[in-house]
């Protein structure tokens, strides 16, 4: 099956087949990371620029390692994206990037739709590494890869996603991805963190974490971003942890073999207690490991896939 997406802007545009192909490809790249020489020549001569307008050490490092393991020349650019700072516009940034003749731009931006803006105007491939509160496709794909490894399948599973759904691009991308592969998604958070119509994306909405977790195969906790809550989203983190924090008692309501996920970095004692975070059901480090493989797969597939043989010569 061929992968015919020039860009990875979101899971919304992907089919179940696309997603499965990415996961299968990632699976085959996992071995590379286990070798003593962790490098294949697949993307030799290709230039990948990571443009991060918003700080994210994890995602950026993961993409950078992925590029390097495929022998691409990877460059990191950080830029400030404050709306009030007058400076280079995104259009100028795009023109400058284009002049550097990259093959792939990996972009993180605080404005939803920014990668789409770039993709419309430039020749290179764009991979969305997180745009505003919209999508974070590579995170959802690594989550799916982790679930598939742990559960053997995705179809028919019940996945509870708990936390600040309003501001979470991870949640949106996961809802799309899990739906497309036949899982049932539950979303839970306080009313201030459940945006209007979210159920229409394909999820059941729960007010109480106990109900959301009951019988779940997967419990995915979202990071509470304290800087985003302002004064109006939550009375206090203390209260949040009381009503929405994942504790060992609450985990008992899930299926006995349920797994616990978190996109990181965790606020221990807020959305997740240390007992759960360090407990046997957590797969958080598997997620990180799978992140590199998934990002290798994305870089490989958007750069044409079939060129594998050329570059190996």
């Amino acid at each position: 099956m061929a992968f015919n997406h020039k860009h990875i802007l979101g899971i919304e545009q992907m089919s179940a087949e696309d997603i499965t192909l990415i996961l299968d490809t990632a699976e085959s790249f996992k071995d590379v990371s286990l070798r003593s020489i962790k490098k294949v020549p697949t993307l030799r001569g290709k230039t990948v620029i990571n443009v991060f307008f918003e700080a994210s050490t994890r995602t950026r490092t993961s993409f950078e390692i992925a590029g390097k393991r495929l022998s691409a020349d990877t460059v990191n650019i950080s830029a400030s994206t404050s709306a009030v700072v007058k400076g280079e516009t995104l259009e100028d940034t795009a023109k400058n990037l284009e002049a550097m003749k990259p093959d792939i731009i990996v972009m993180r931006h605080s404005c939803s739709g920014a990668p789409h803006y770039l993709a419309e105007r430039c020749d290179f491939s764009v991979i969305n590494a997180g745009d505003g509160a919209h999508e974070h496709p590579s995170q959802a794909l690594l989550d799916l890869l982790t679930i598939r490894q742990k559960k053997g399948h995705i179809e028919g599973l019940t996945v509870a996603i708990i936390g600040d759904i309003t501001h979470s691009r991870v949640a949106r991308s996961n809802v799309y991805a899990l739906n497309k592969l036949g899982a049932e998604v539950r979303l839970c958070g306080p009313g201030t963190m459940l945006p209007p119509g979210i159920e229409r994306l394909g999820a059941q909405v729960f007010d109480r974490i106990d109900d959301a977790v009951s019988g779940a195969d997967v419990v995915m906790m979202l990071r509470i971003q304290q800087e985003r809550q302002g004064k109006t989203m939550l009375p206090s983190l203390r209260e949040y942890s009381m009503f929405y924090g994942l504790t060992p008692d609450r985990m008992k309501l899930a299926k006995p073999d349920a797994i616990v996920m978190h996109p990181g970095p965790m606020n221990r004692g807020v959305e997740i207690s240390s007992a759960v975070a360090d407990g046997p059901q957590n797969v958080i480090l598997d997620q990180v490991e799978n992140g590199v493989a998934v990002r290798m797969a994305l870089l490989y597939l958007v750069s044409g896939g079939e060129k594998l043989e050329d570059s190996a010569q």
């Binding site: 939803s112 739709g113 803006y117 505003g132 509160a133 945006p195 209007p196 994306l201």
Partner: protein
């Protein structure tokens, strides 16, 4: 100088006229409306197949002059107005300097008299500097030529200031135009709050931000027995509040803009900044309510909220783009589209562009009565055309209707008996 317009379908909703008549213009005034008008020395315009209507009036336009002439100025703005069939526009005070004083009002009137493509009625600010803190010199501005006052772009958030503004303006019979919006509910929203915002991951502006503010302003108008005109109504809730207030006899009028009865929040998909405006595009239910409000007269005015911006101000991330679209050259065909779709009678549609706006701000014009200044628009309702934003008369191109297939447009615009626009083919 005389002009004789022959064979047209004369539509003057203010007087219930809808007949095949000739119209004679003499000495800048409507001299005669009737059949078989004979005159020797008049310039003849054959309006066969066309509508001959009172000059269209747009009471909500941002001419950006003084201060933002790179977006639009009085000359280019009135040229766009004439090309859209408008013979008069009322211009909002959020210029630089703000039109909160007689000198700025006089500057606008002076420049408009020179540009001359359309009549310009300045609208002054309610509060000094649009700051919402203290009343501007409303009486002085009225005397200088302002036809209404508004802090458009900024709601008057403080209840008492709005109350005092209404009471004070009442003494001068000056309508207050309210930009009704509760900013504390708008927050950092950039589009309508709802499913589309959720899907796109954009911050939402809830409909209640408009409705609660309209409710306050309407109640204050009733309390003070003052004249209130509600600008750019975009929600079902606001239509319902205005309808009820009018039924109680409140001195309230209201407008909507073509984009609110033509587009919904779906236009934002793809992060199209040409669909970013304030108030934001709403849902299909709101669109339906706006159409009902126009049909039953709750909304008696179609105004464009013509808001020109430079391409650099729109060619950015959605969050950072400025609000607003141009509208002078698309309002008429989009209104006729409403007629074509059966949502509004042709006569009511023309009324919303002529007698309705004239009544809301007590402007001269809006009718073809004999003796009135000869402001006339001739419309070919059948002409089919494709909107090319680059070909527009406005200095700006920020329209979401680029490449739209439109039907009907003004072919001749006459201001005080002078032809200010003629469609060349």
């Amino acid at each position: 100088m005389k002009i004789l317009i022959t064979n047209g379908r004369v539509l003057d909703p203010a007087h219930g006229i809808d007949e095949k008549f000739d119209v004679l213009i003499e000495d800048n005034r409507i001299a005669q409306v009737g059949t078989d008008i004979q005159t020797a020395d008049a310039e003849k315009i054959d309006a066969a197949g066309c509508l001959v209507v009172p000059g269209l009036i747009d009471i909500h336009v941002h001419l950006r002059d003084p201060g933002f002439e790179y977006k639009e100025d009085i000359e280019s703005g009135t040229r766009a107005a004439a090309a859209g069939g408008f013979t008069a526009v009322a211009c909002m005070p959020n210029t630089s300097p703000v039109n909160d004083n007689k000198a700025t009002t006089q500057y606008i009137l002076h420049k408009a008299a020179q540009a001359g493509h359309a009549k310009v009625y300045p609208v002054g600010a309610i509060t000094k500097g649009l700051k919402g803190e203290s009343l501007a010199e409303l009486g002085d501005m009225k005397q200088a030529g302002c036809v209404a006052v508004t802090d458009d772009g900024h709601p008057v958030s403080h209840g008492e200031i709005m109350r005092r503004a209404l009471e004070y303006a009442r003494s001068f019979d000056l309508p207050i135009v309210s930009h009704s919006e509760d900013l504390s509910l708008v927050g950092d929203g950039v589009m309508n709050d709802g499913f589309v915002a959720t899907e796109l991951g954009l911050r939402g502006i809830p409909w209640v931000a408009e409705v609660s503010a309209v409710a306050r302003d309407v109640m204050l108008a009733e309390y003070t027995n003052a004249r209130l005109h509600v600008a750019h109504v975009s929600t079902r809730g606001a239509v319902e509040i205005i309808r009820a207030a009018k039924a109680r006899g409140a001195r309230v009028t209201a407008e909507t803009a073509p984009h609110y009865f033509t587009l919904t929040e779906d236009a934002v998909r793809g992060y199209d900044t040409h669909a970013k405006m304030n108030p934001p595009l709403r849902t299909s239910d709101d669109l339906e309510a706006i159409r009902e409000g126009l049909a039953d007269g709750t909304l008696s005015v179609i105004a464009t909220d013509h808001a020109p911006h430079h391409p650099d101000e729109k060619n950015v991330e959605f969050n950072l783009a400025l609000n607003g679209i141009i509208g002078l050259e698309t309002a008429l065909p989009l209104t006729l589209r409403l007629v074509e779709e059966g949502a509004l009678s042709l006569s009511d549609a023309i009324a919303c562009l002529t007698s309705g706006p004239a009544a809301a701000l007590s402007l001269p014009g809006g009718t073809l009565e004999v003796g009135r200044p000869a402001d006339v628009t001739i419309i070919d309702p059948e002409i089919k055309w494709t909107l090319d934003p680059q070909a527009g008369q406005s200095r700006s191109r920020n329209t979401p209707f680029g490449d739209w297939k439109l039907k009907g447009r003004a072919i001749c615009t006459i201001v005080d008996g002078r032809i200010t626009y003629r469609l060349s083919d």
